[in-house]
């Protein structure tokens, strides 16, 4: 009993961890199902159909491709814009700092449905048609703040003396930025970029307001499928995404750990 009491937090933590992981396990298991009927609720029969024929469900790979293109473009642009803002906030004193902070914070403090619908009203009034461009604009908008947060955290820990040392050793401002500042900020920028990509790739609510019938992103495809019956391929793709995410996060941790070991 005393042993259980002592490790109460550990048990609670592991239970919560299990709670967060159960759906991923289910997704992986059901990607090997050959469902009876159109709803993939019960495990019927083992099958690798979804894995050998991932584009087997009509439209699924088109939507995946669109989501990847939008995700990559949005995350690159949002990372550039967000990194610039993070450097300004982390490195300079300027007037209007609190207004800037507020403007960065606001998109994170606004429900997606409000952002999506308000953008729709703007696009309606400005005559911008719904579609991939509108989606891209929206995704960049809500990703920028998250990039700023990720990069700013890193920039704040950079020692300004390292840049002084570079100047002292004869590096001009451009060389200092490229050889010292940027490599040191890189982990934060990479984290911001990955976060932006995953937010963009996964967004349904805002996208739904700005999509046209011809611009179906992957989450929209899944949403539509959820009403009609989800193809097994969705579960296979979900599993692949989980494994890629796991791989990327593990790689990030390994690189981070190596850096930390050097610091220690």
């Amino acid at each position: 009993m005393a042993w259980i009491k002592r490790h109460l937090i550990t048990f609670a933590a592991l239970a919560v961890l299990a709670y967060t992981l159960v759906p991923n396990v289910i997704v992986a298991v059901f990607s090997f199902n050959d469902p009876k009927g159109k709803f993939n609720y019960t495990f019927n029969e083992f099958s690798t159909d979804a894995w050998t024929n991932p584009c087997g469900a009509p439209g699924i790979c088109d939507s995946l491709g669109l989501s990847l293109r939008i995700g990559i473009t949005a995350s690159i642009i949002a990372t550039i814009l967000g990194t610039m803002i993070a450097f300004a906030l982390g490195r300079y004193r300027f007037r209007g700092r609190s207004a800037t902070n507020l403007l960065i914070f606001m998109p994170m403090a606004t429900p997606e449905v409000v952002m999506g619908s308000s953008l729709l009203t703007l696009f309606l009034m400005a005559g911008i048609p719904a579609g991939p461009v509108a989606i891209l604009i929206a995704h960049i908008m809500f990703c920028v703040s998250f990039v700023v947060v990720a990069v700013k955290a890193r920039v704040a820990t950079l020692d300004p003396r390292l840049e002084e040392a570079a100047a002292d050793l004869g590096a001009n401002p451009t060389q200092t930025f490229l050889r010292v500042t940027l490599p040191l900020a890189a982990p934060g920028i990479a984290a911001g970029g990955l976060l932006a990509f995953s937010l963009s790739f996964d967004d349904y609510i805002i996208t739904n307001f700005n999509a046209s019938p011809s611009s179906i992103t992957f989450p929209m495809y899944v949403w539509g499928a959820a009403q009609r019956g989800v193809p097994v391929q969705v579960y296979a793709i979900g599993t692949v995404m989980f494994l890629i995410a796991l791989g990327v996060v593990v790689a990030g941790q390994v690189v981070g750990a190596r850096r930390n070991r050097q610091v220690a």
Binding site: D159, L162, A166, A167, D168, L169, A171, P173, P183
Partner: protein, 378 residues
């Protein structure tokens, strides 16, 4: 001192002319005139906030002076940027690039100037600081002492006209600091570059530097070699900041006894001080004597005071006494443990010293100036 132009580095002396730095609310460095001889080991010594680091940063180009000029030899570098100056700095926290290996750190400056021979020179610099075996490690894998030497190599390898050291030993423990002081001095003599060393540690400054400028509150208090600063401080600040001083209030009696000695009266006792050690045209003075110049008993010289031993602390090589004078002031006496008998607590003793061991300072100064600022770490 600018007349000695021994030109060992080929560039000449560093001169600061009326160099000034003011911020919105205060002046960090009042107009400062200073010439630092090429190839010398120079120390800027002073307490926290005295302006020594600001002065160093102005020389490095990391801080823009509000006024005045900086020249090296005939070249005026006042308006050049930090990266255009042939001046390198060993930073207080080392500021080694954590994303580069040790050798890449050392090559950084050479590469910026497109030196084809960077790799070999970097290896040589690492040999000079005895770190060739860690060339491919990351700085963060090294100990503090090793990082310090990498920072030194990274600056030295560029053969700067002036090498600046900003409290380079501040983060090291006492033993390592002593070792590095000797090491730094050796390297400076080996490479023959001008070193300017900023420190708050008077012992460190005296151990290493050929000349020292003592700074206080943005002004230079005194400039000279370590022995002169110690033996003949020109202000109570220097007297207290460089080692300990006993300061006795005295008035000059003015009668010179022919042998270059002036008589002064302190608390109804007549004392002697060498004429050269007395400021001109001053009637009231602080008469200063270093604790180790005082003797218990009458063997020290003609100046004698009696008092009561209030405290005895044994420190190994020496014993420190606190002797209370009849007017309440306590004099500190340090006696070498050379086998002579020691005084006991509560004993009545005579304290004596020679006329040439005293120095007199204008009494209009605060006797405590600088005393509270001494850092005991050194």
């Amino acid at each position: 001192m600018g007349d000695t132009t021994v030109d060992r580095t080929g560039k000449g002396d560093l001169s600061l002319v009326a160099l000034t730095k003011s911020f919105a609310t205060f002046t960090a460095v009042h107009p400062l005139d200073l010439t630092i001889e090429a190839g010398s080991f120079f120390a800027l010594l002073g307490p926290s906030g005295c302006g020594k680091t600001t002065t160093l940063r102005m020389i490095a180009g990391l801080e823009d002076p509000t006024g005045g000029r900086i020249t090296i030899g005939d070249e005026d570098i006042t308006d050049t940027k930090a990266y255009q100056r042939n001046v390198n700095t060993v930073f207080q926290s080392y500021a080694l690039f954590p994303h580069m290996t040790v050798v890449d750190n050392v090559m950084f400056g050479l590469k910026r100037r497109g030196d084809k021979d960077a790799k070999r020179k970097a290896r040589e610099a690492l040999e000079l600081v005895q770190l060739e075996q860690v060339a491919t490690k990351r700085p963060t894998q090294l100990s503090g002492g090793m990082q310090q030497r990498v920072a030194l190599a990274r600056a030295l390898v560029n053969r700067p006209d002036v090498l600046l050291l900003d409290e380079p030993l501040g983060a090291l423990d006492l033993k390592l600091r002593r070792q590095m002081q000797i090491e730094l001095k050796r390297i400076q003599q080996e490479v023959g570059l001008t070193f300017i060393h900023v420190t708050h540690d008077q012992e460190e400054a005296m151990t290493m530097a050929d000349r020292i400028a003592v700074m206080n509150a943005g002004r230079m208090e005194q400039l000279g070699d370590p022995a002169t600063l110690y033996e003949r401080p020109s202000s109570t600040f220097v007297a207290n900041f460089l080692g300990q001083s006993n300061l006795l209030r005295a008035s000059v009696l003015g009668s010179e006894s022919g042998n270059g000695v002036v008589r002064v009266r302190s608390h109804d006792t007549e004392l002697e001080v060498v004429r050269d050690h007395l400021p001109q045209g001053v009637g009231d003075v602080w008469l200063g004597v270093r604790p180790e110049k005082l003797r218990l008993g009458e063997s020290g010289g003609p100046n004698r005071l009696s008092g009561l031993v209030r405290d005895v602390s044994f420190t190994g090589v020496a014993t420190q006494y606190s002797v209370e004078m009849p007017w309440g002031q306590e004099l500190t006496v340090v006696q070498q443990n050379d086998g002579t008998a020691r005084a006991r607590l509560g004993e009545n003793v005579t304290v004596s010293w020679a006329a040439e061991h005293g120095f007199a300072l204008d009494a209009s100064q605060d006797a405590e100036a600088g005393a509270e600022l001494v850092d005991d770490r050194g």
